[in-house]
Symmetry: C2
Subunit: 338 residues, 2 copies
């Protein structure tokens, strides 16, 4: 079968790779309906994470069950399924506590930009839709498997409440989905920090009430102006850099919360500064599995449409161009069709 | 009047100081009923914080209103009052949000180990008791003004819930009050980390169900053993050192929370480690003012007795010995009687 392989920074190729197959009785294999490129895929693509040896790429997927291992009874061949980038058994203590992305048997997906994908922990991980959804819904269901689930988690971790003010730092696909989540959580005012016009437009479409184009301490000052001088109730940090984290912490009011969902790169938080800020901080890989039934339902009923974050659709053959377009910020997020 | 003054590390003296008096119409002056020495007073006493010039000490107090400024209508001379170490106007946005220790007009108390004390922001800060409480209640009411309020905040910030498992790091007065708070919040299992027998005994009296004497990674391993391998739901970090913070973060289960209430000294939290832990982190100076009516009521009705943390009572004249006894760990906390 064909799958994307990264060889070095800037060098992603579609190649013939080993066929996806059942390795354990708890596995399933799916035929990929659509897959995509994630903002976090750009870390190795840009050399910010090392690539010691060529390896497959991709952790987002929706597809049709091709084969289910002997211990997988929750889904069956032919069904259309959505899963999380973090597979989980859905039975361990952490799963029962709702933190399936810290499952004691977690295996992170990494081979999804391919025609077929092996899904470990399939029983706990995959959720079948009610019938096969129309193709027009595939992008949004694909978004649910990662960026929409991650935006949802950002809003939960930032403790967004009805009537509150939420700020979203980062206008990538996750940040934009964070705007959707903040709106669904009932935030009255949603301030998106973005300096890119097409992204500002999408943020507004998703529910942003204000746009702040300034960054760093200027951006913080602008947020303070908009929030009676004290800062926002909730800030969704959807980037992962030290600057974004600083901006998020400084934009939050005393007693407010920051949810951080971009994998932090060289971020350290000063204990004394956090202490005197009274700001709560929680992050991590989104427990997408917990949200799947609810988010699938919101997509299927047309309540949310996170698939709009895909502004470039390419055949899987052009995966290299898909990375390039995102790296050069010509695209927010690339959808790939096998 | 007489008041304690620190001149250098290890050198606290009772001296004649300027009389406490009304400086602003929003001030009150109280005659101190009882005051005490705080664990945080030991930072400058031990030279961990600089003492550039001699200055008064103490931020815990209960007493009788001696005089109220012209804008203070909520309390009147003769009343017995409890206040917070952080004064607050109780009207600004942060106060209305329940974070009075981040009041936009906050003034931290620092002159309370004295016969009389000026209280800024008296209107918002002081809460009068219903009649003058018996002297036997004064220590517990004094504890409410800081250590009990701080333990309460630790439990709130650590999101202690009924039926949960809470760990308390630190067996000083705040940690011991954290045990009281965890019990009042309904924790089913309360694990106190302590290696001092008298403190273990008091922790058990306050509601601790388990004692862990190991520290550092050994202590963490023991907590994991006691919590099905995943860690505790809530951890109250009541110390403020890098070691204590590490111990707290590592003892918490994915999705659990750390409340940190010891002023952090050289503590930095690694963003990526916090991210993958799924642990929530919130701290700060306790918003004691928010808790005062409730905590005063719990003391007056005999439901809680945090005054037991005082295991040494001295006349104010012997303030120096009060510091020494705590520094040498001969006393958990010293009560001072003017």
């Amino acid at each position: 079968m064909r799958g994307a392989v990264i060889h070095a920074p800037g060098d992603v190729r579609l190649e013939t790779v080993d066929d996806a197959r059942i390795l354990k009785p708890t596995d399933a294999v799916i035929r990929t309906a659509v897959t995509c490129v994630c903002g976090s895929d750009l870390w190795p693509y840009r050399g910010a994470e090392p690539t010691d040896a060529p390896h497959p790429m991709g952790h987002e997927y929706v597809g049709f069950v091709e084969e289910a291992g002997s211990e997988v009874t929750s889904v069956k061949p032919g069904q259309f399924v959505v899963g999380s980038f973090a597979t989980s058994d859905d039975t361990c203590a952490n799963c029962r506590n709702g933190f399936q992305s810290s499952c004691l048997n977690v295996e992170f997906m990494s081979t999804c930009q391919a025609e077929y994908v092996r899904i470990p922990n399939a029983q706990g991980t995959l959720v079948a839709t009610d019938g096969v959804p129309g193709e027009e819904l595939w992008p949004s269901l694909l978004a649910v498997s990662d960026v929409m689930g991650t935006g949802w988690w950002a809003a939960e971790a930032a403790e967004v409440e009805p009537g509150s003010t939420a700020v979203v730092v980062g206008d990538g696909a996750v940040g934009l989905c964070g705007v959707i989540a903040a709106k669904e959580f009932g935030a009255e005012r949603i301030i998106a920090m973005s300096r890119h016009e097409p992204r500002q437009k999408l943020a507004r479409e998703f529910g942003a009430t204000d746009i702040v184009t300034e960054r760093g301490e200027e951006g913080v000052a602008r947020i303070k102006e908009l929030t009676g001088g004290i800062g926002a109730d909730s800030v969704l940090e959807c980037v992962g850099t030290a600057q974004a984290m600083r901006q998020a912490l400084h934009s939050t009011r005393p007693g407010g919360s920051v949810g951080f969902v971009g994998v932090p790169h060289e971020v350290a938080v000063d204990g004394q500064e956090l202490f005197f800020s009274h700001v709560g901080l929680r992050g991590g890989p989104a427990p997408v599995r917990r949200y799947l039934p609810d988010l699938i339902d919101r997509v299927m009923t047309g309540r949310i449409d996170p698939g709009k974050v895909f502004d470039l659709t390419l055949p899987l053959e052009q995966v290299a161009e898909g990375y390039r377009a995102m790296d050069e910020r010509r695209a927010v997020k690339t959808l790939l069709k096998p």
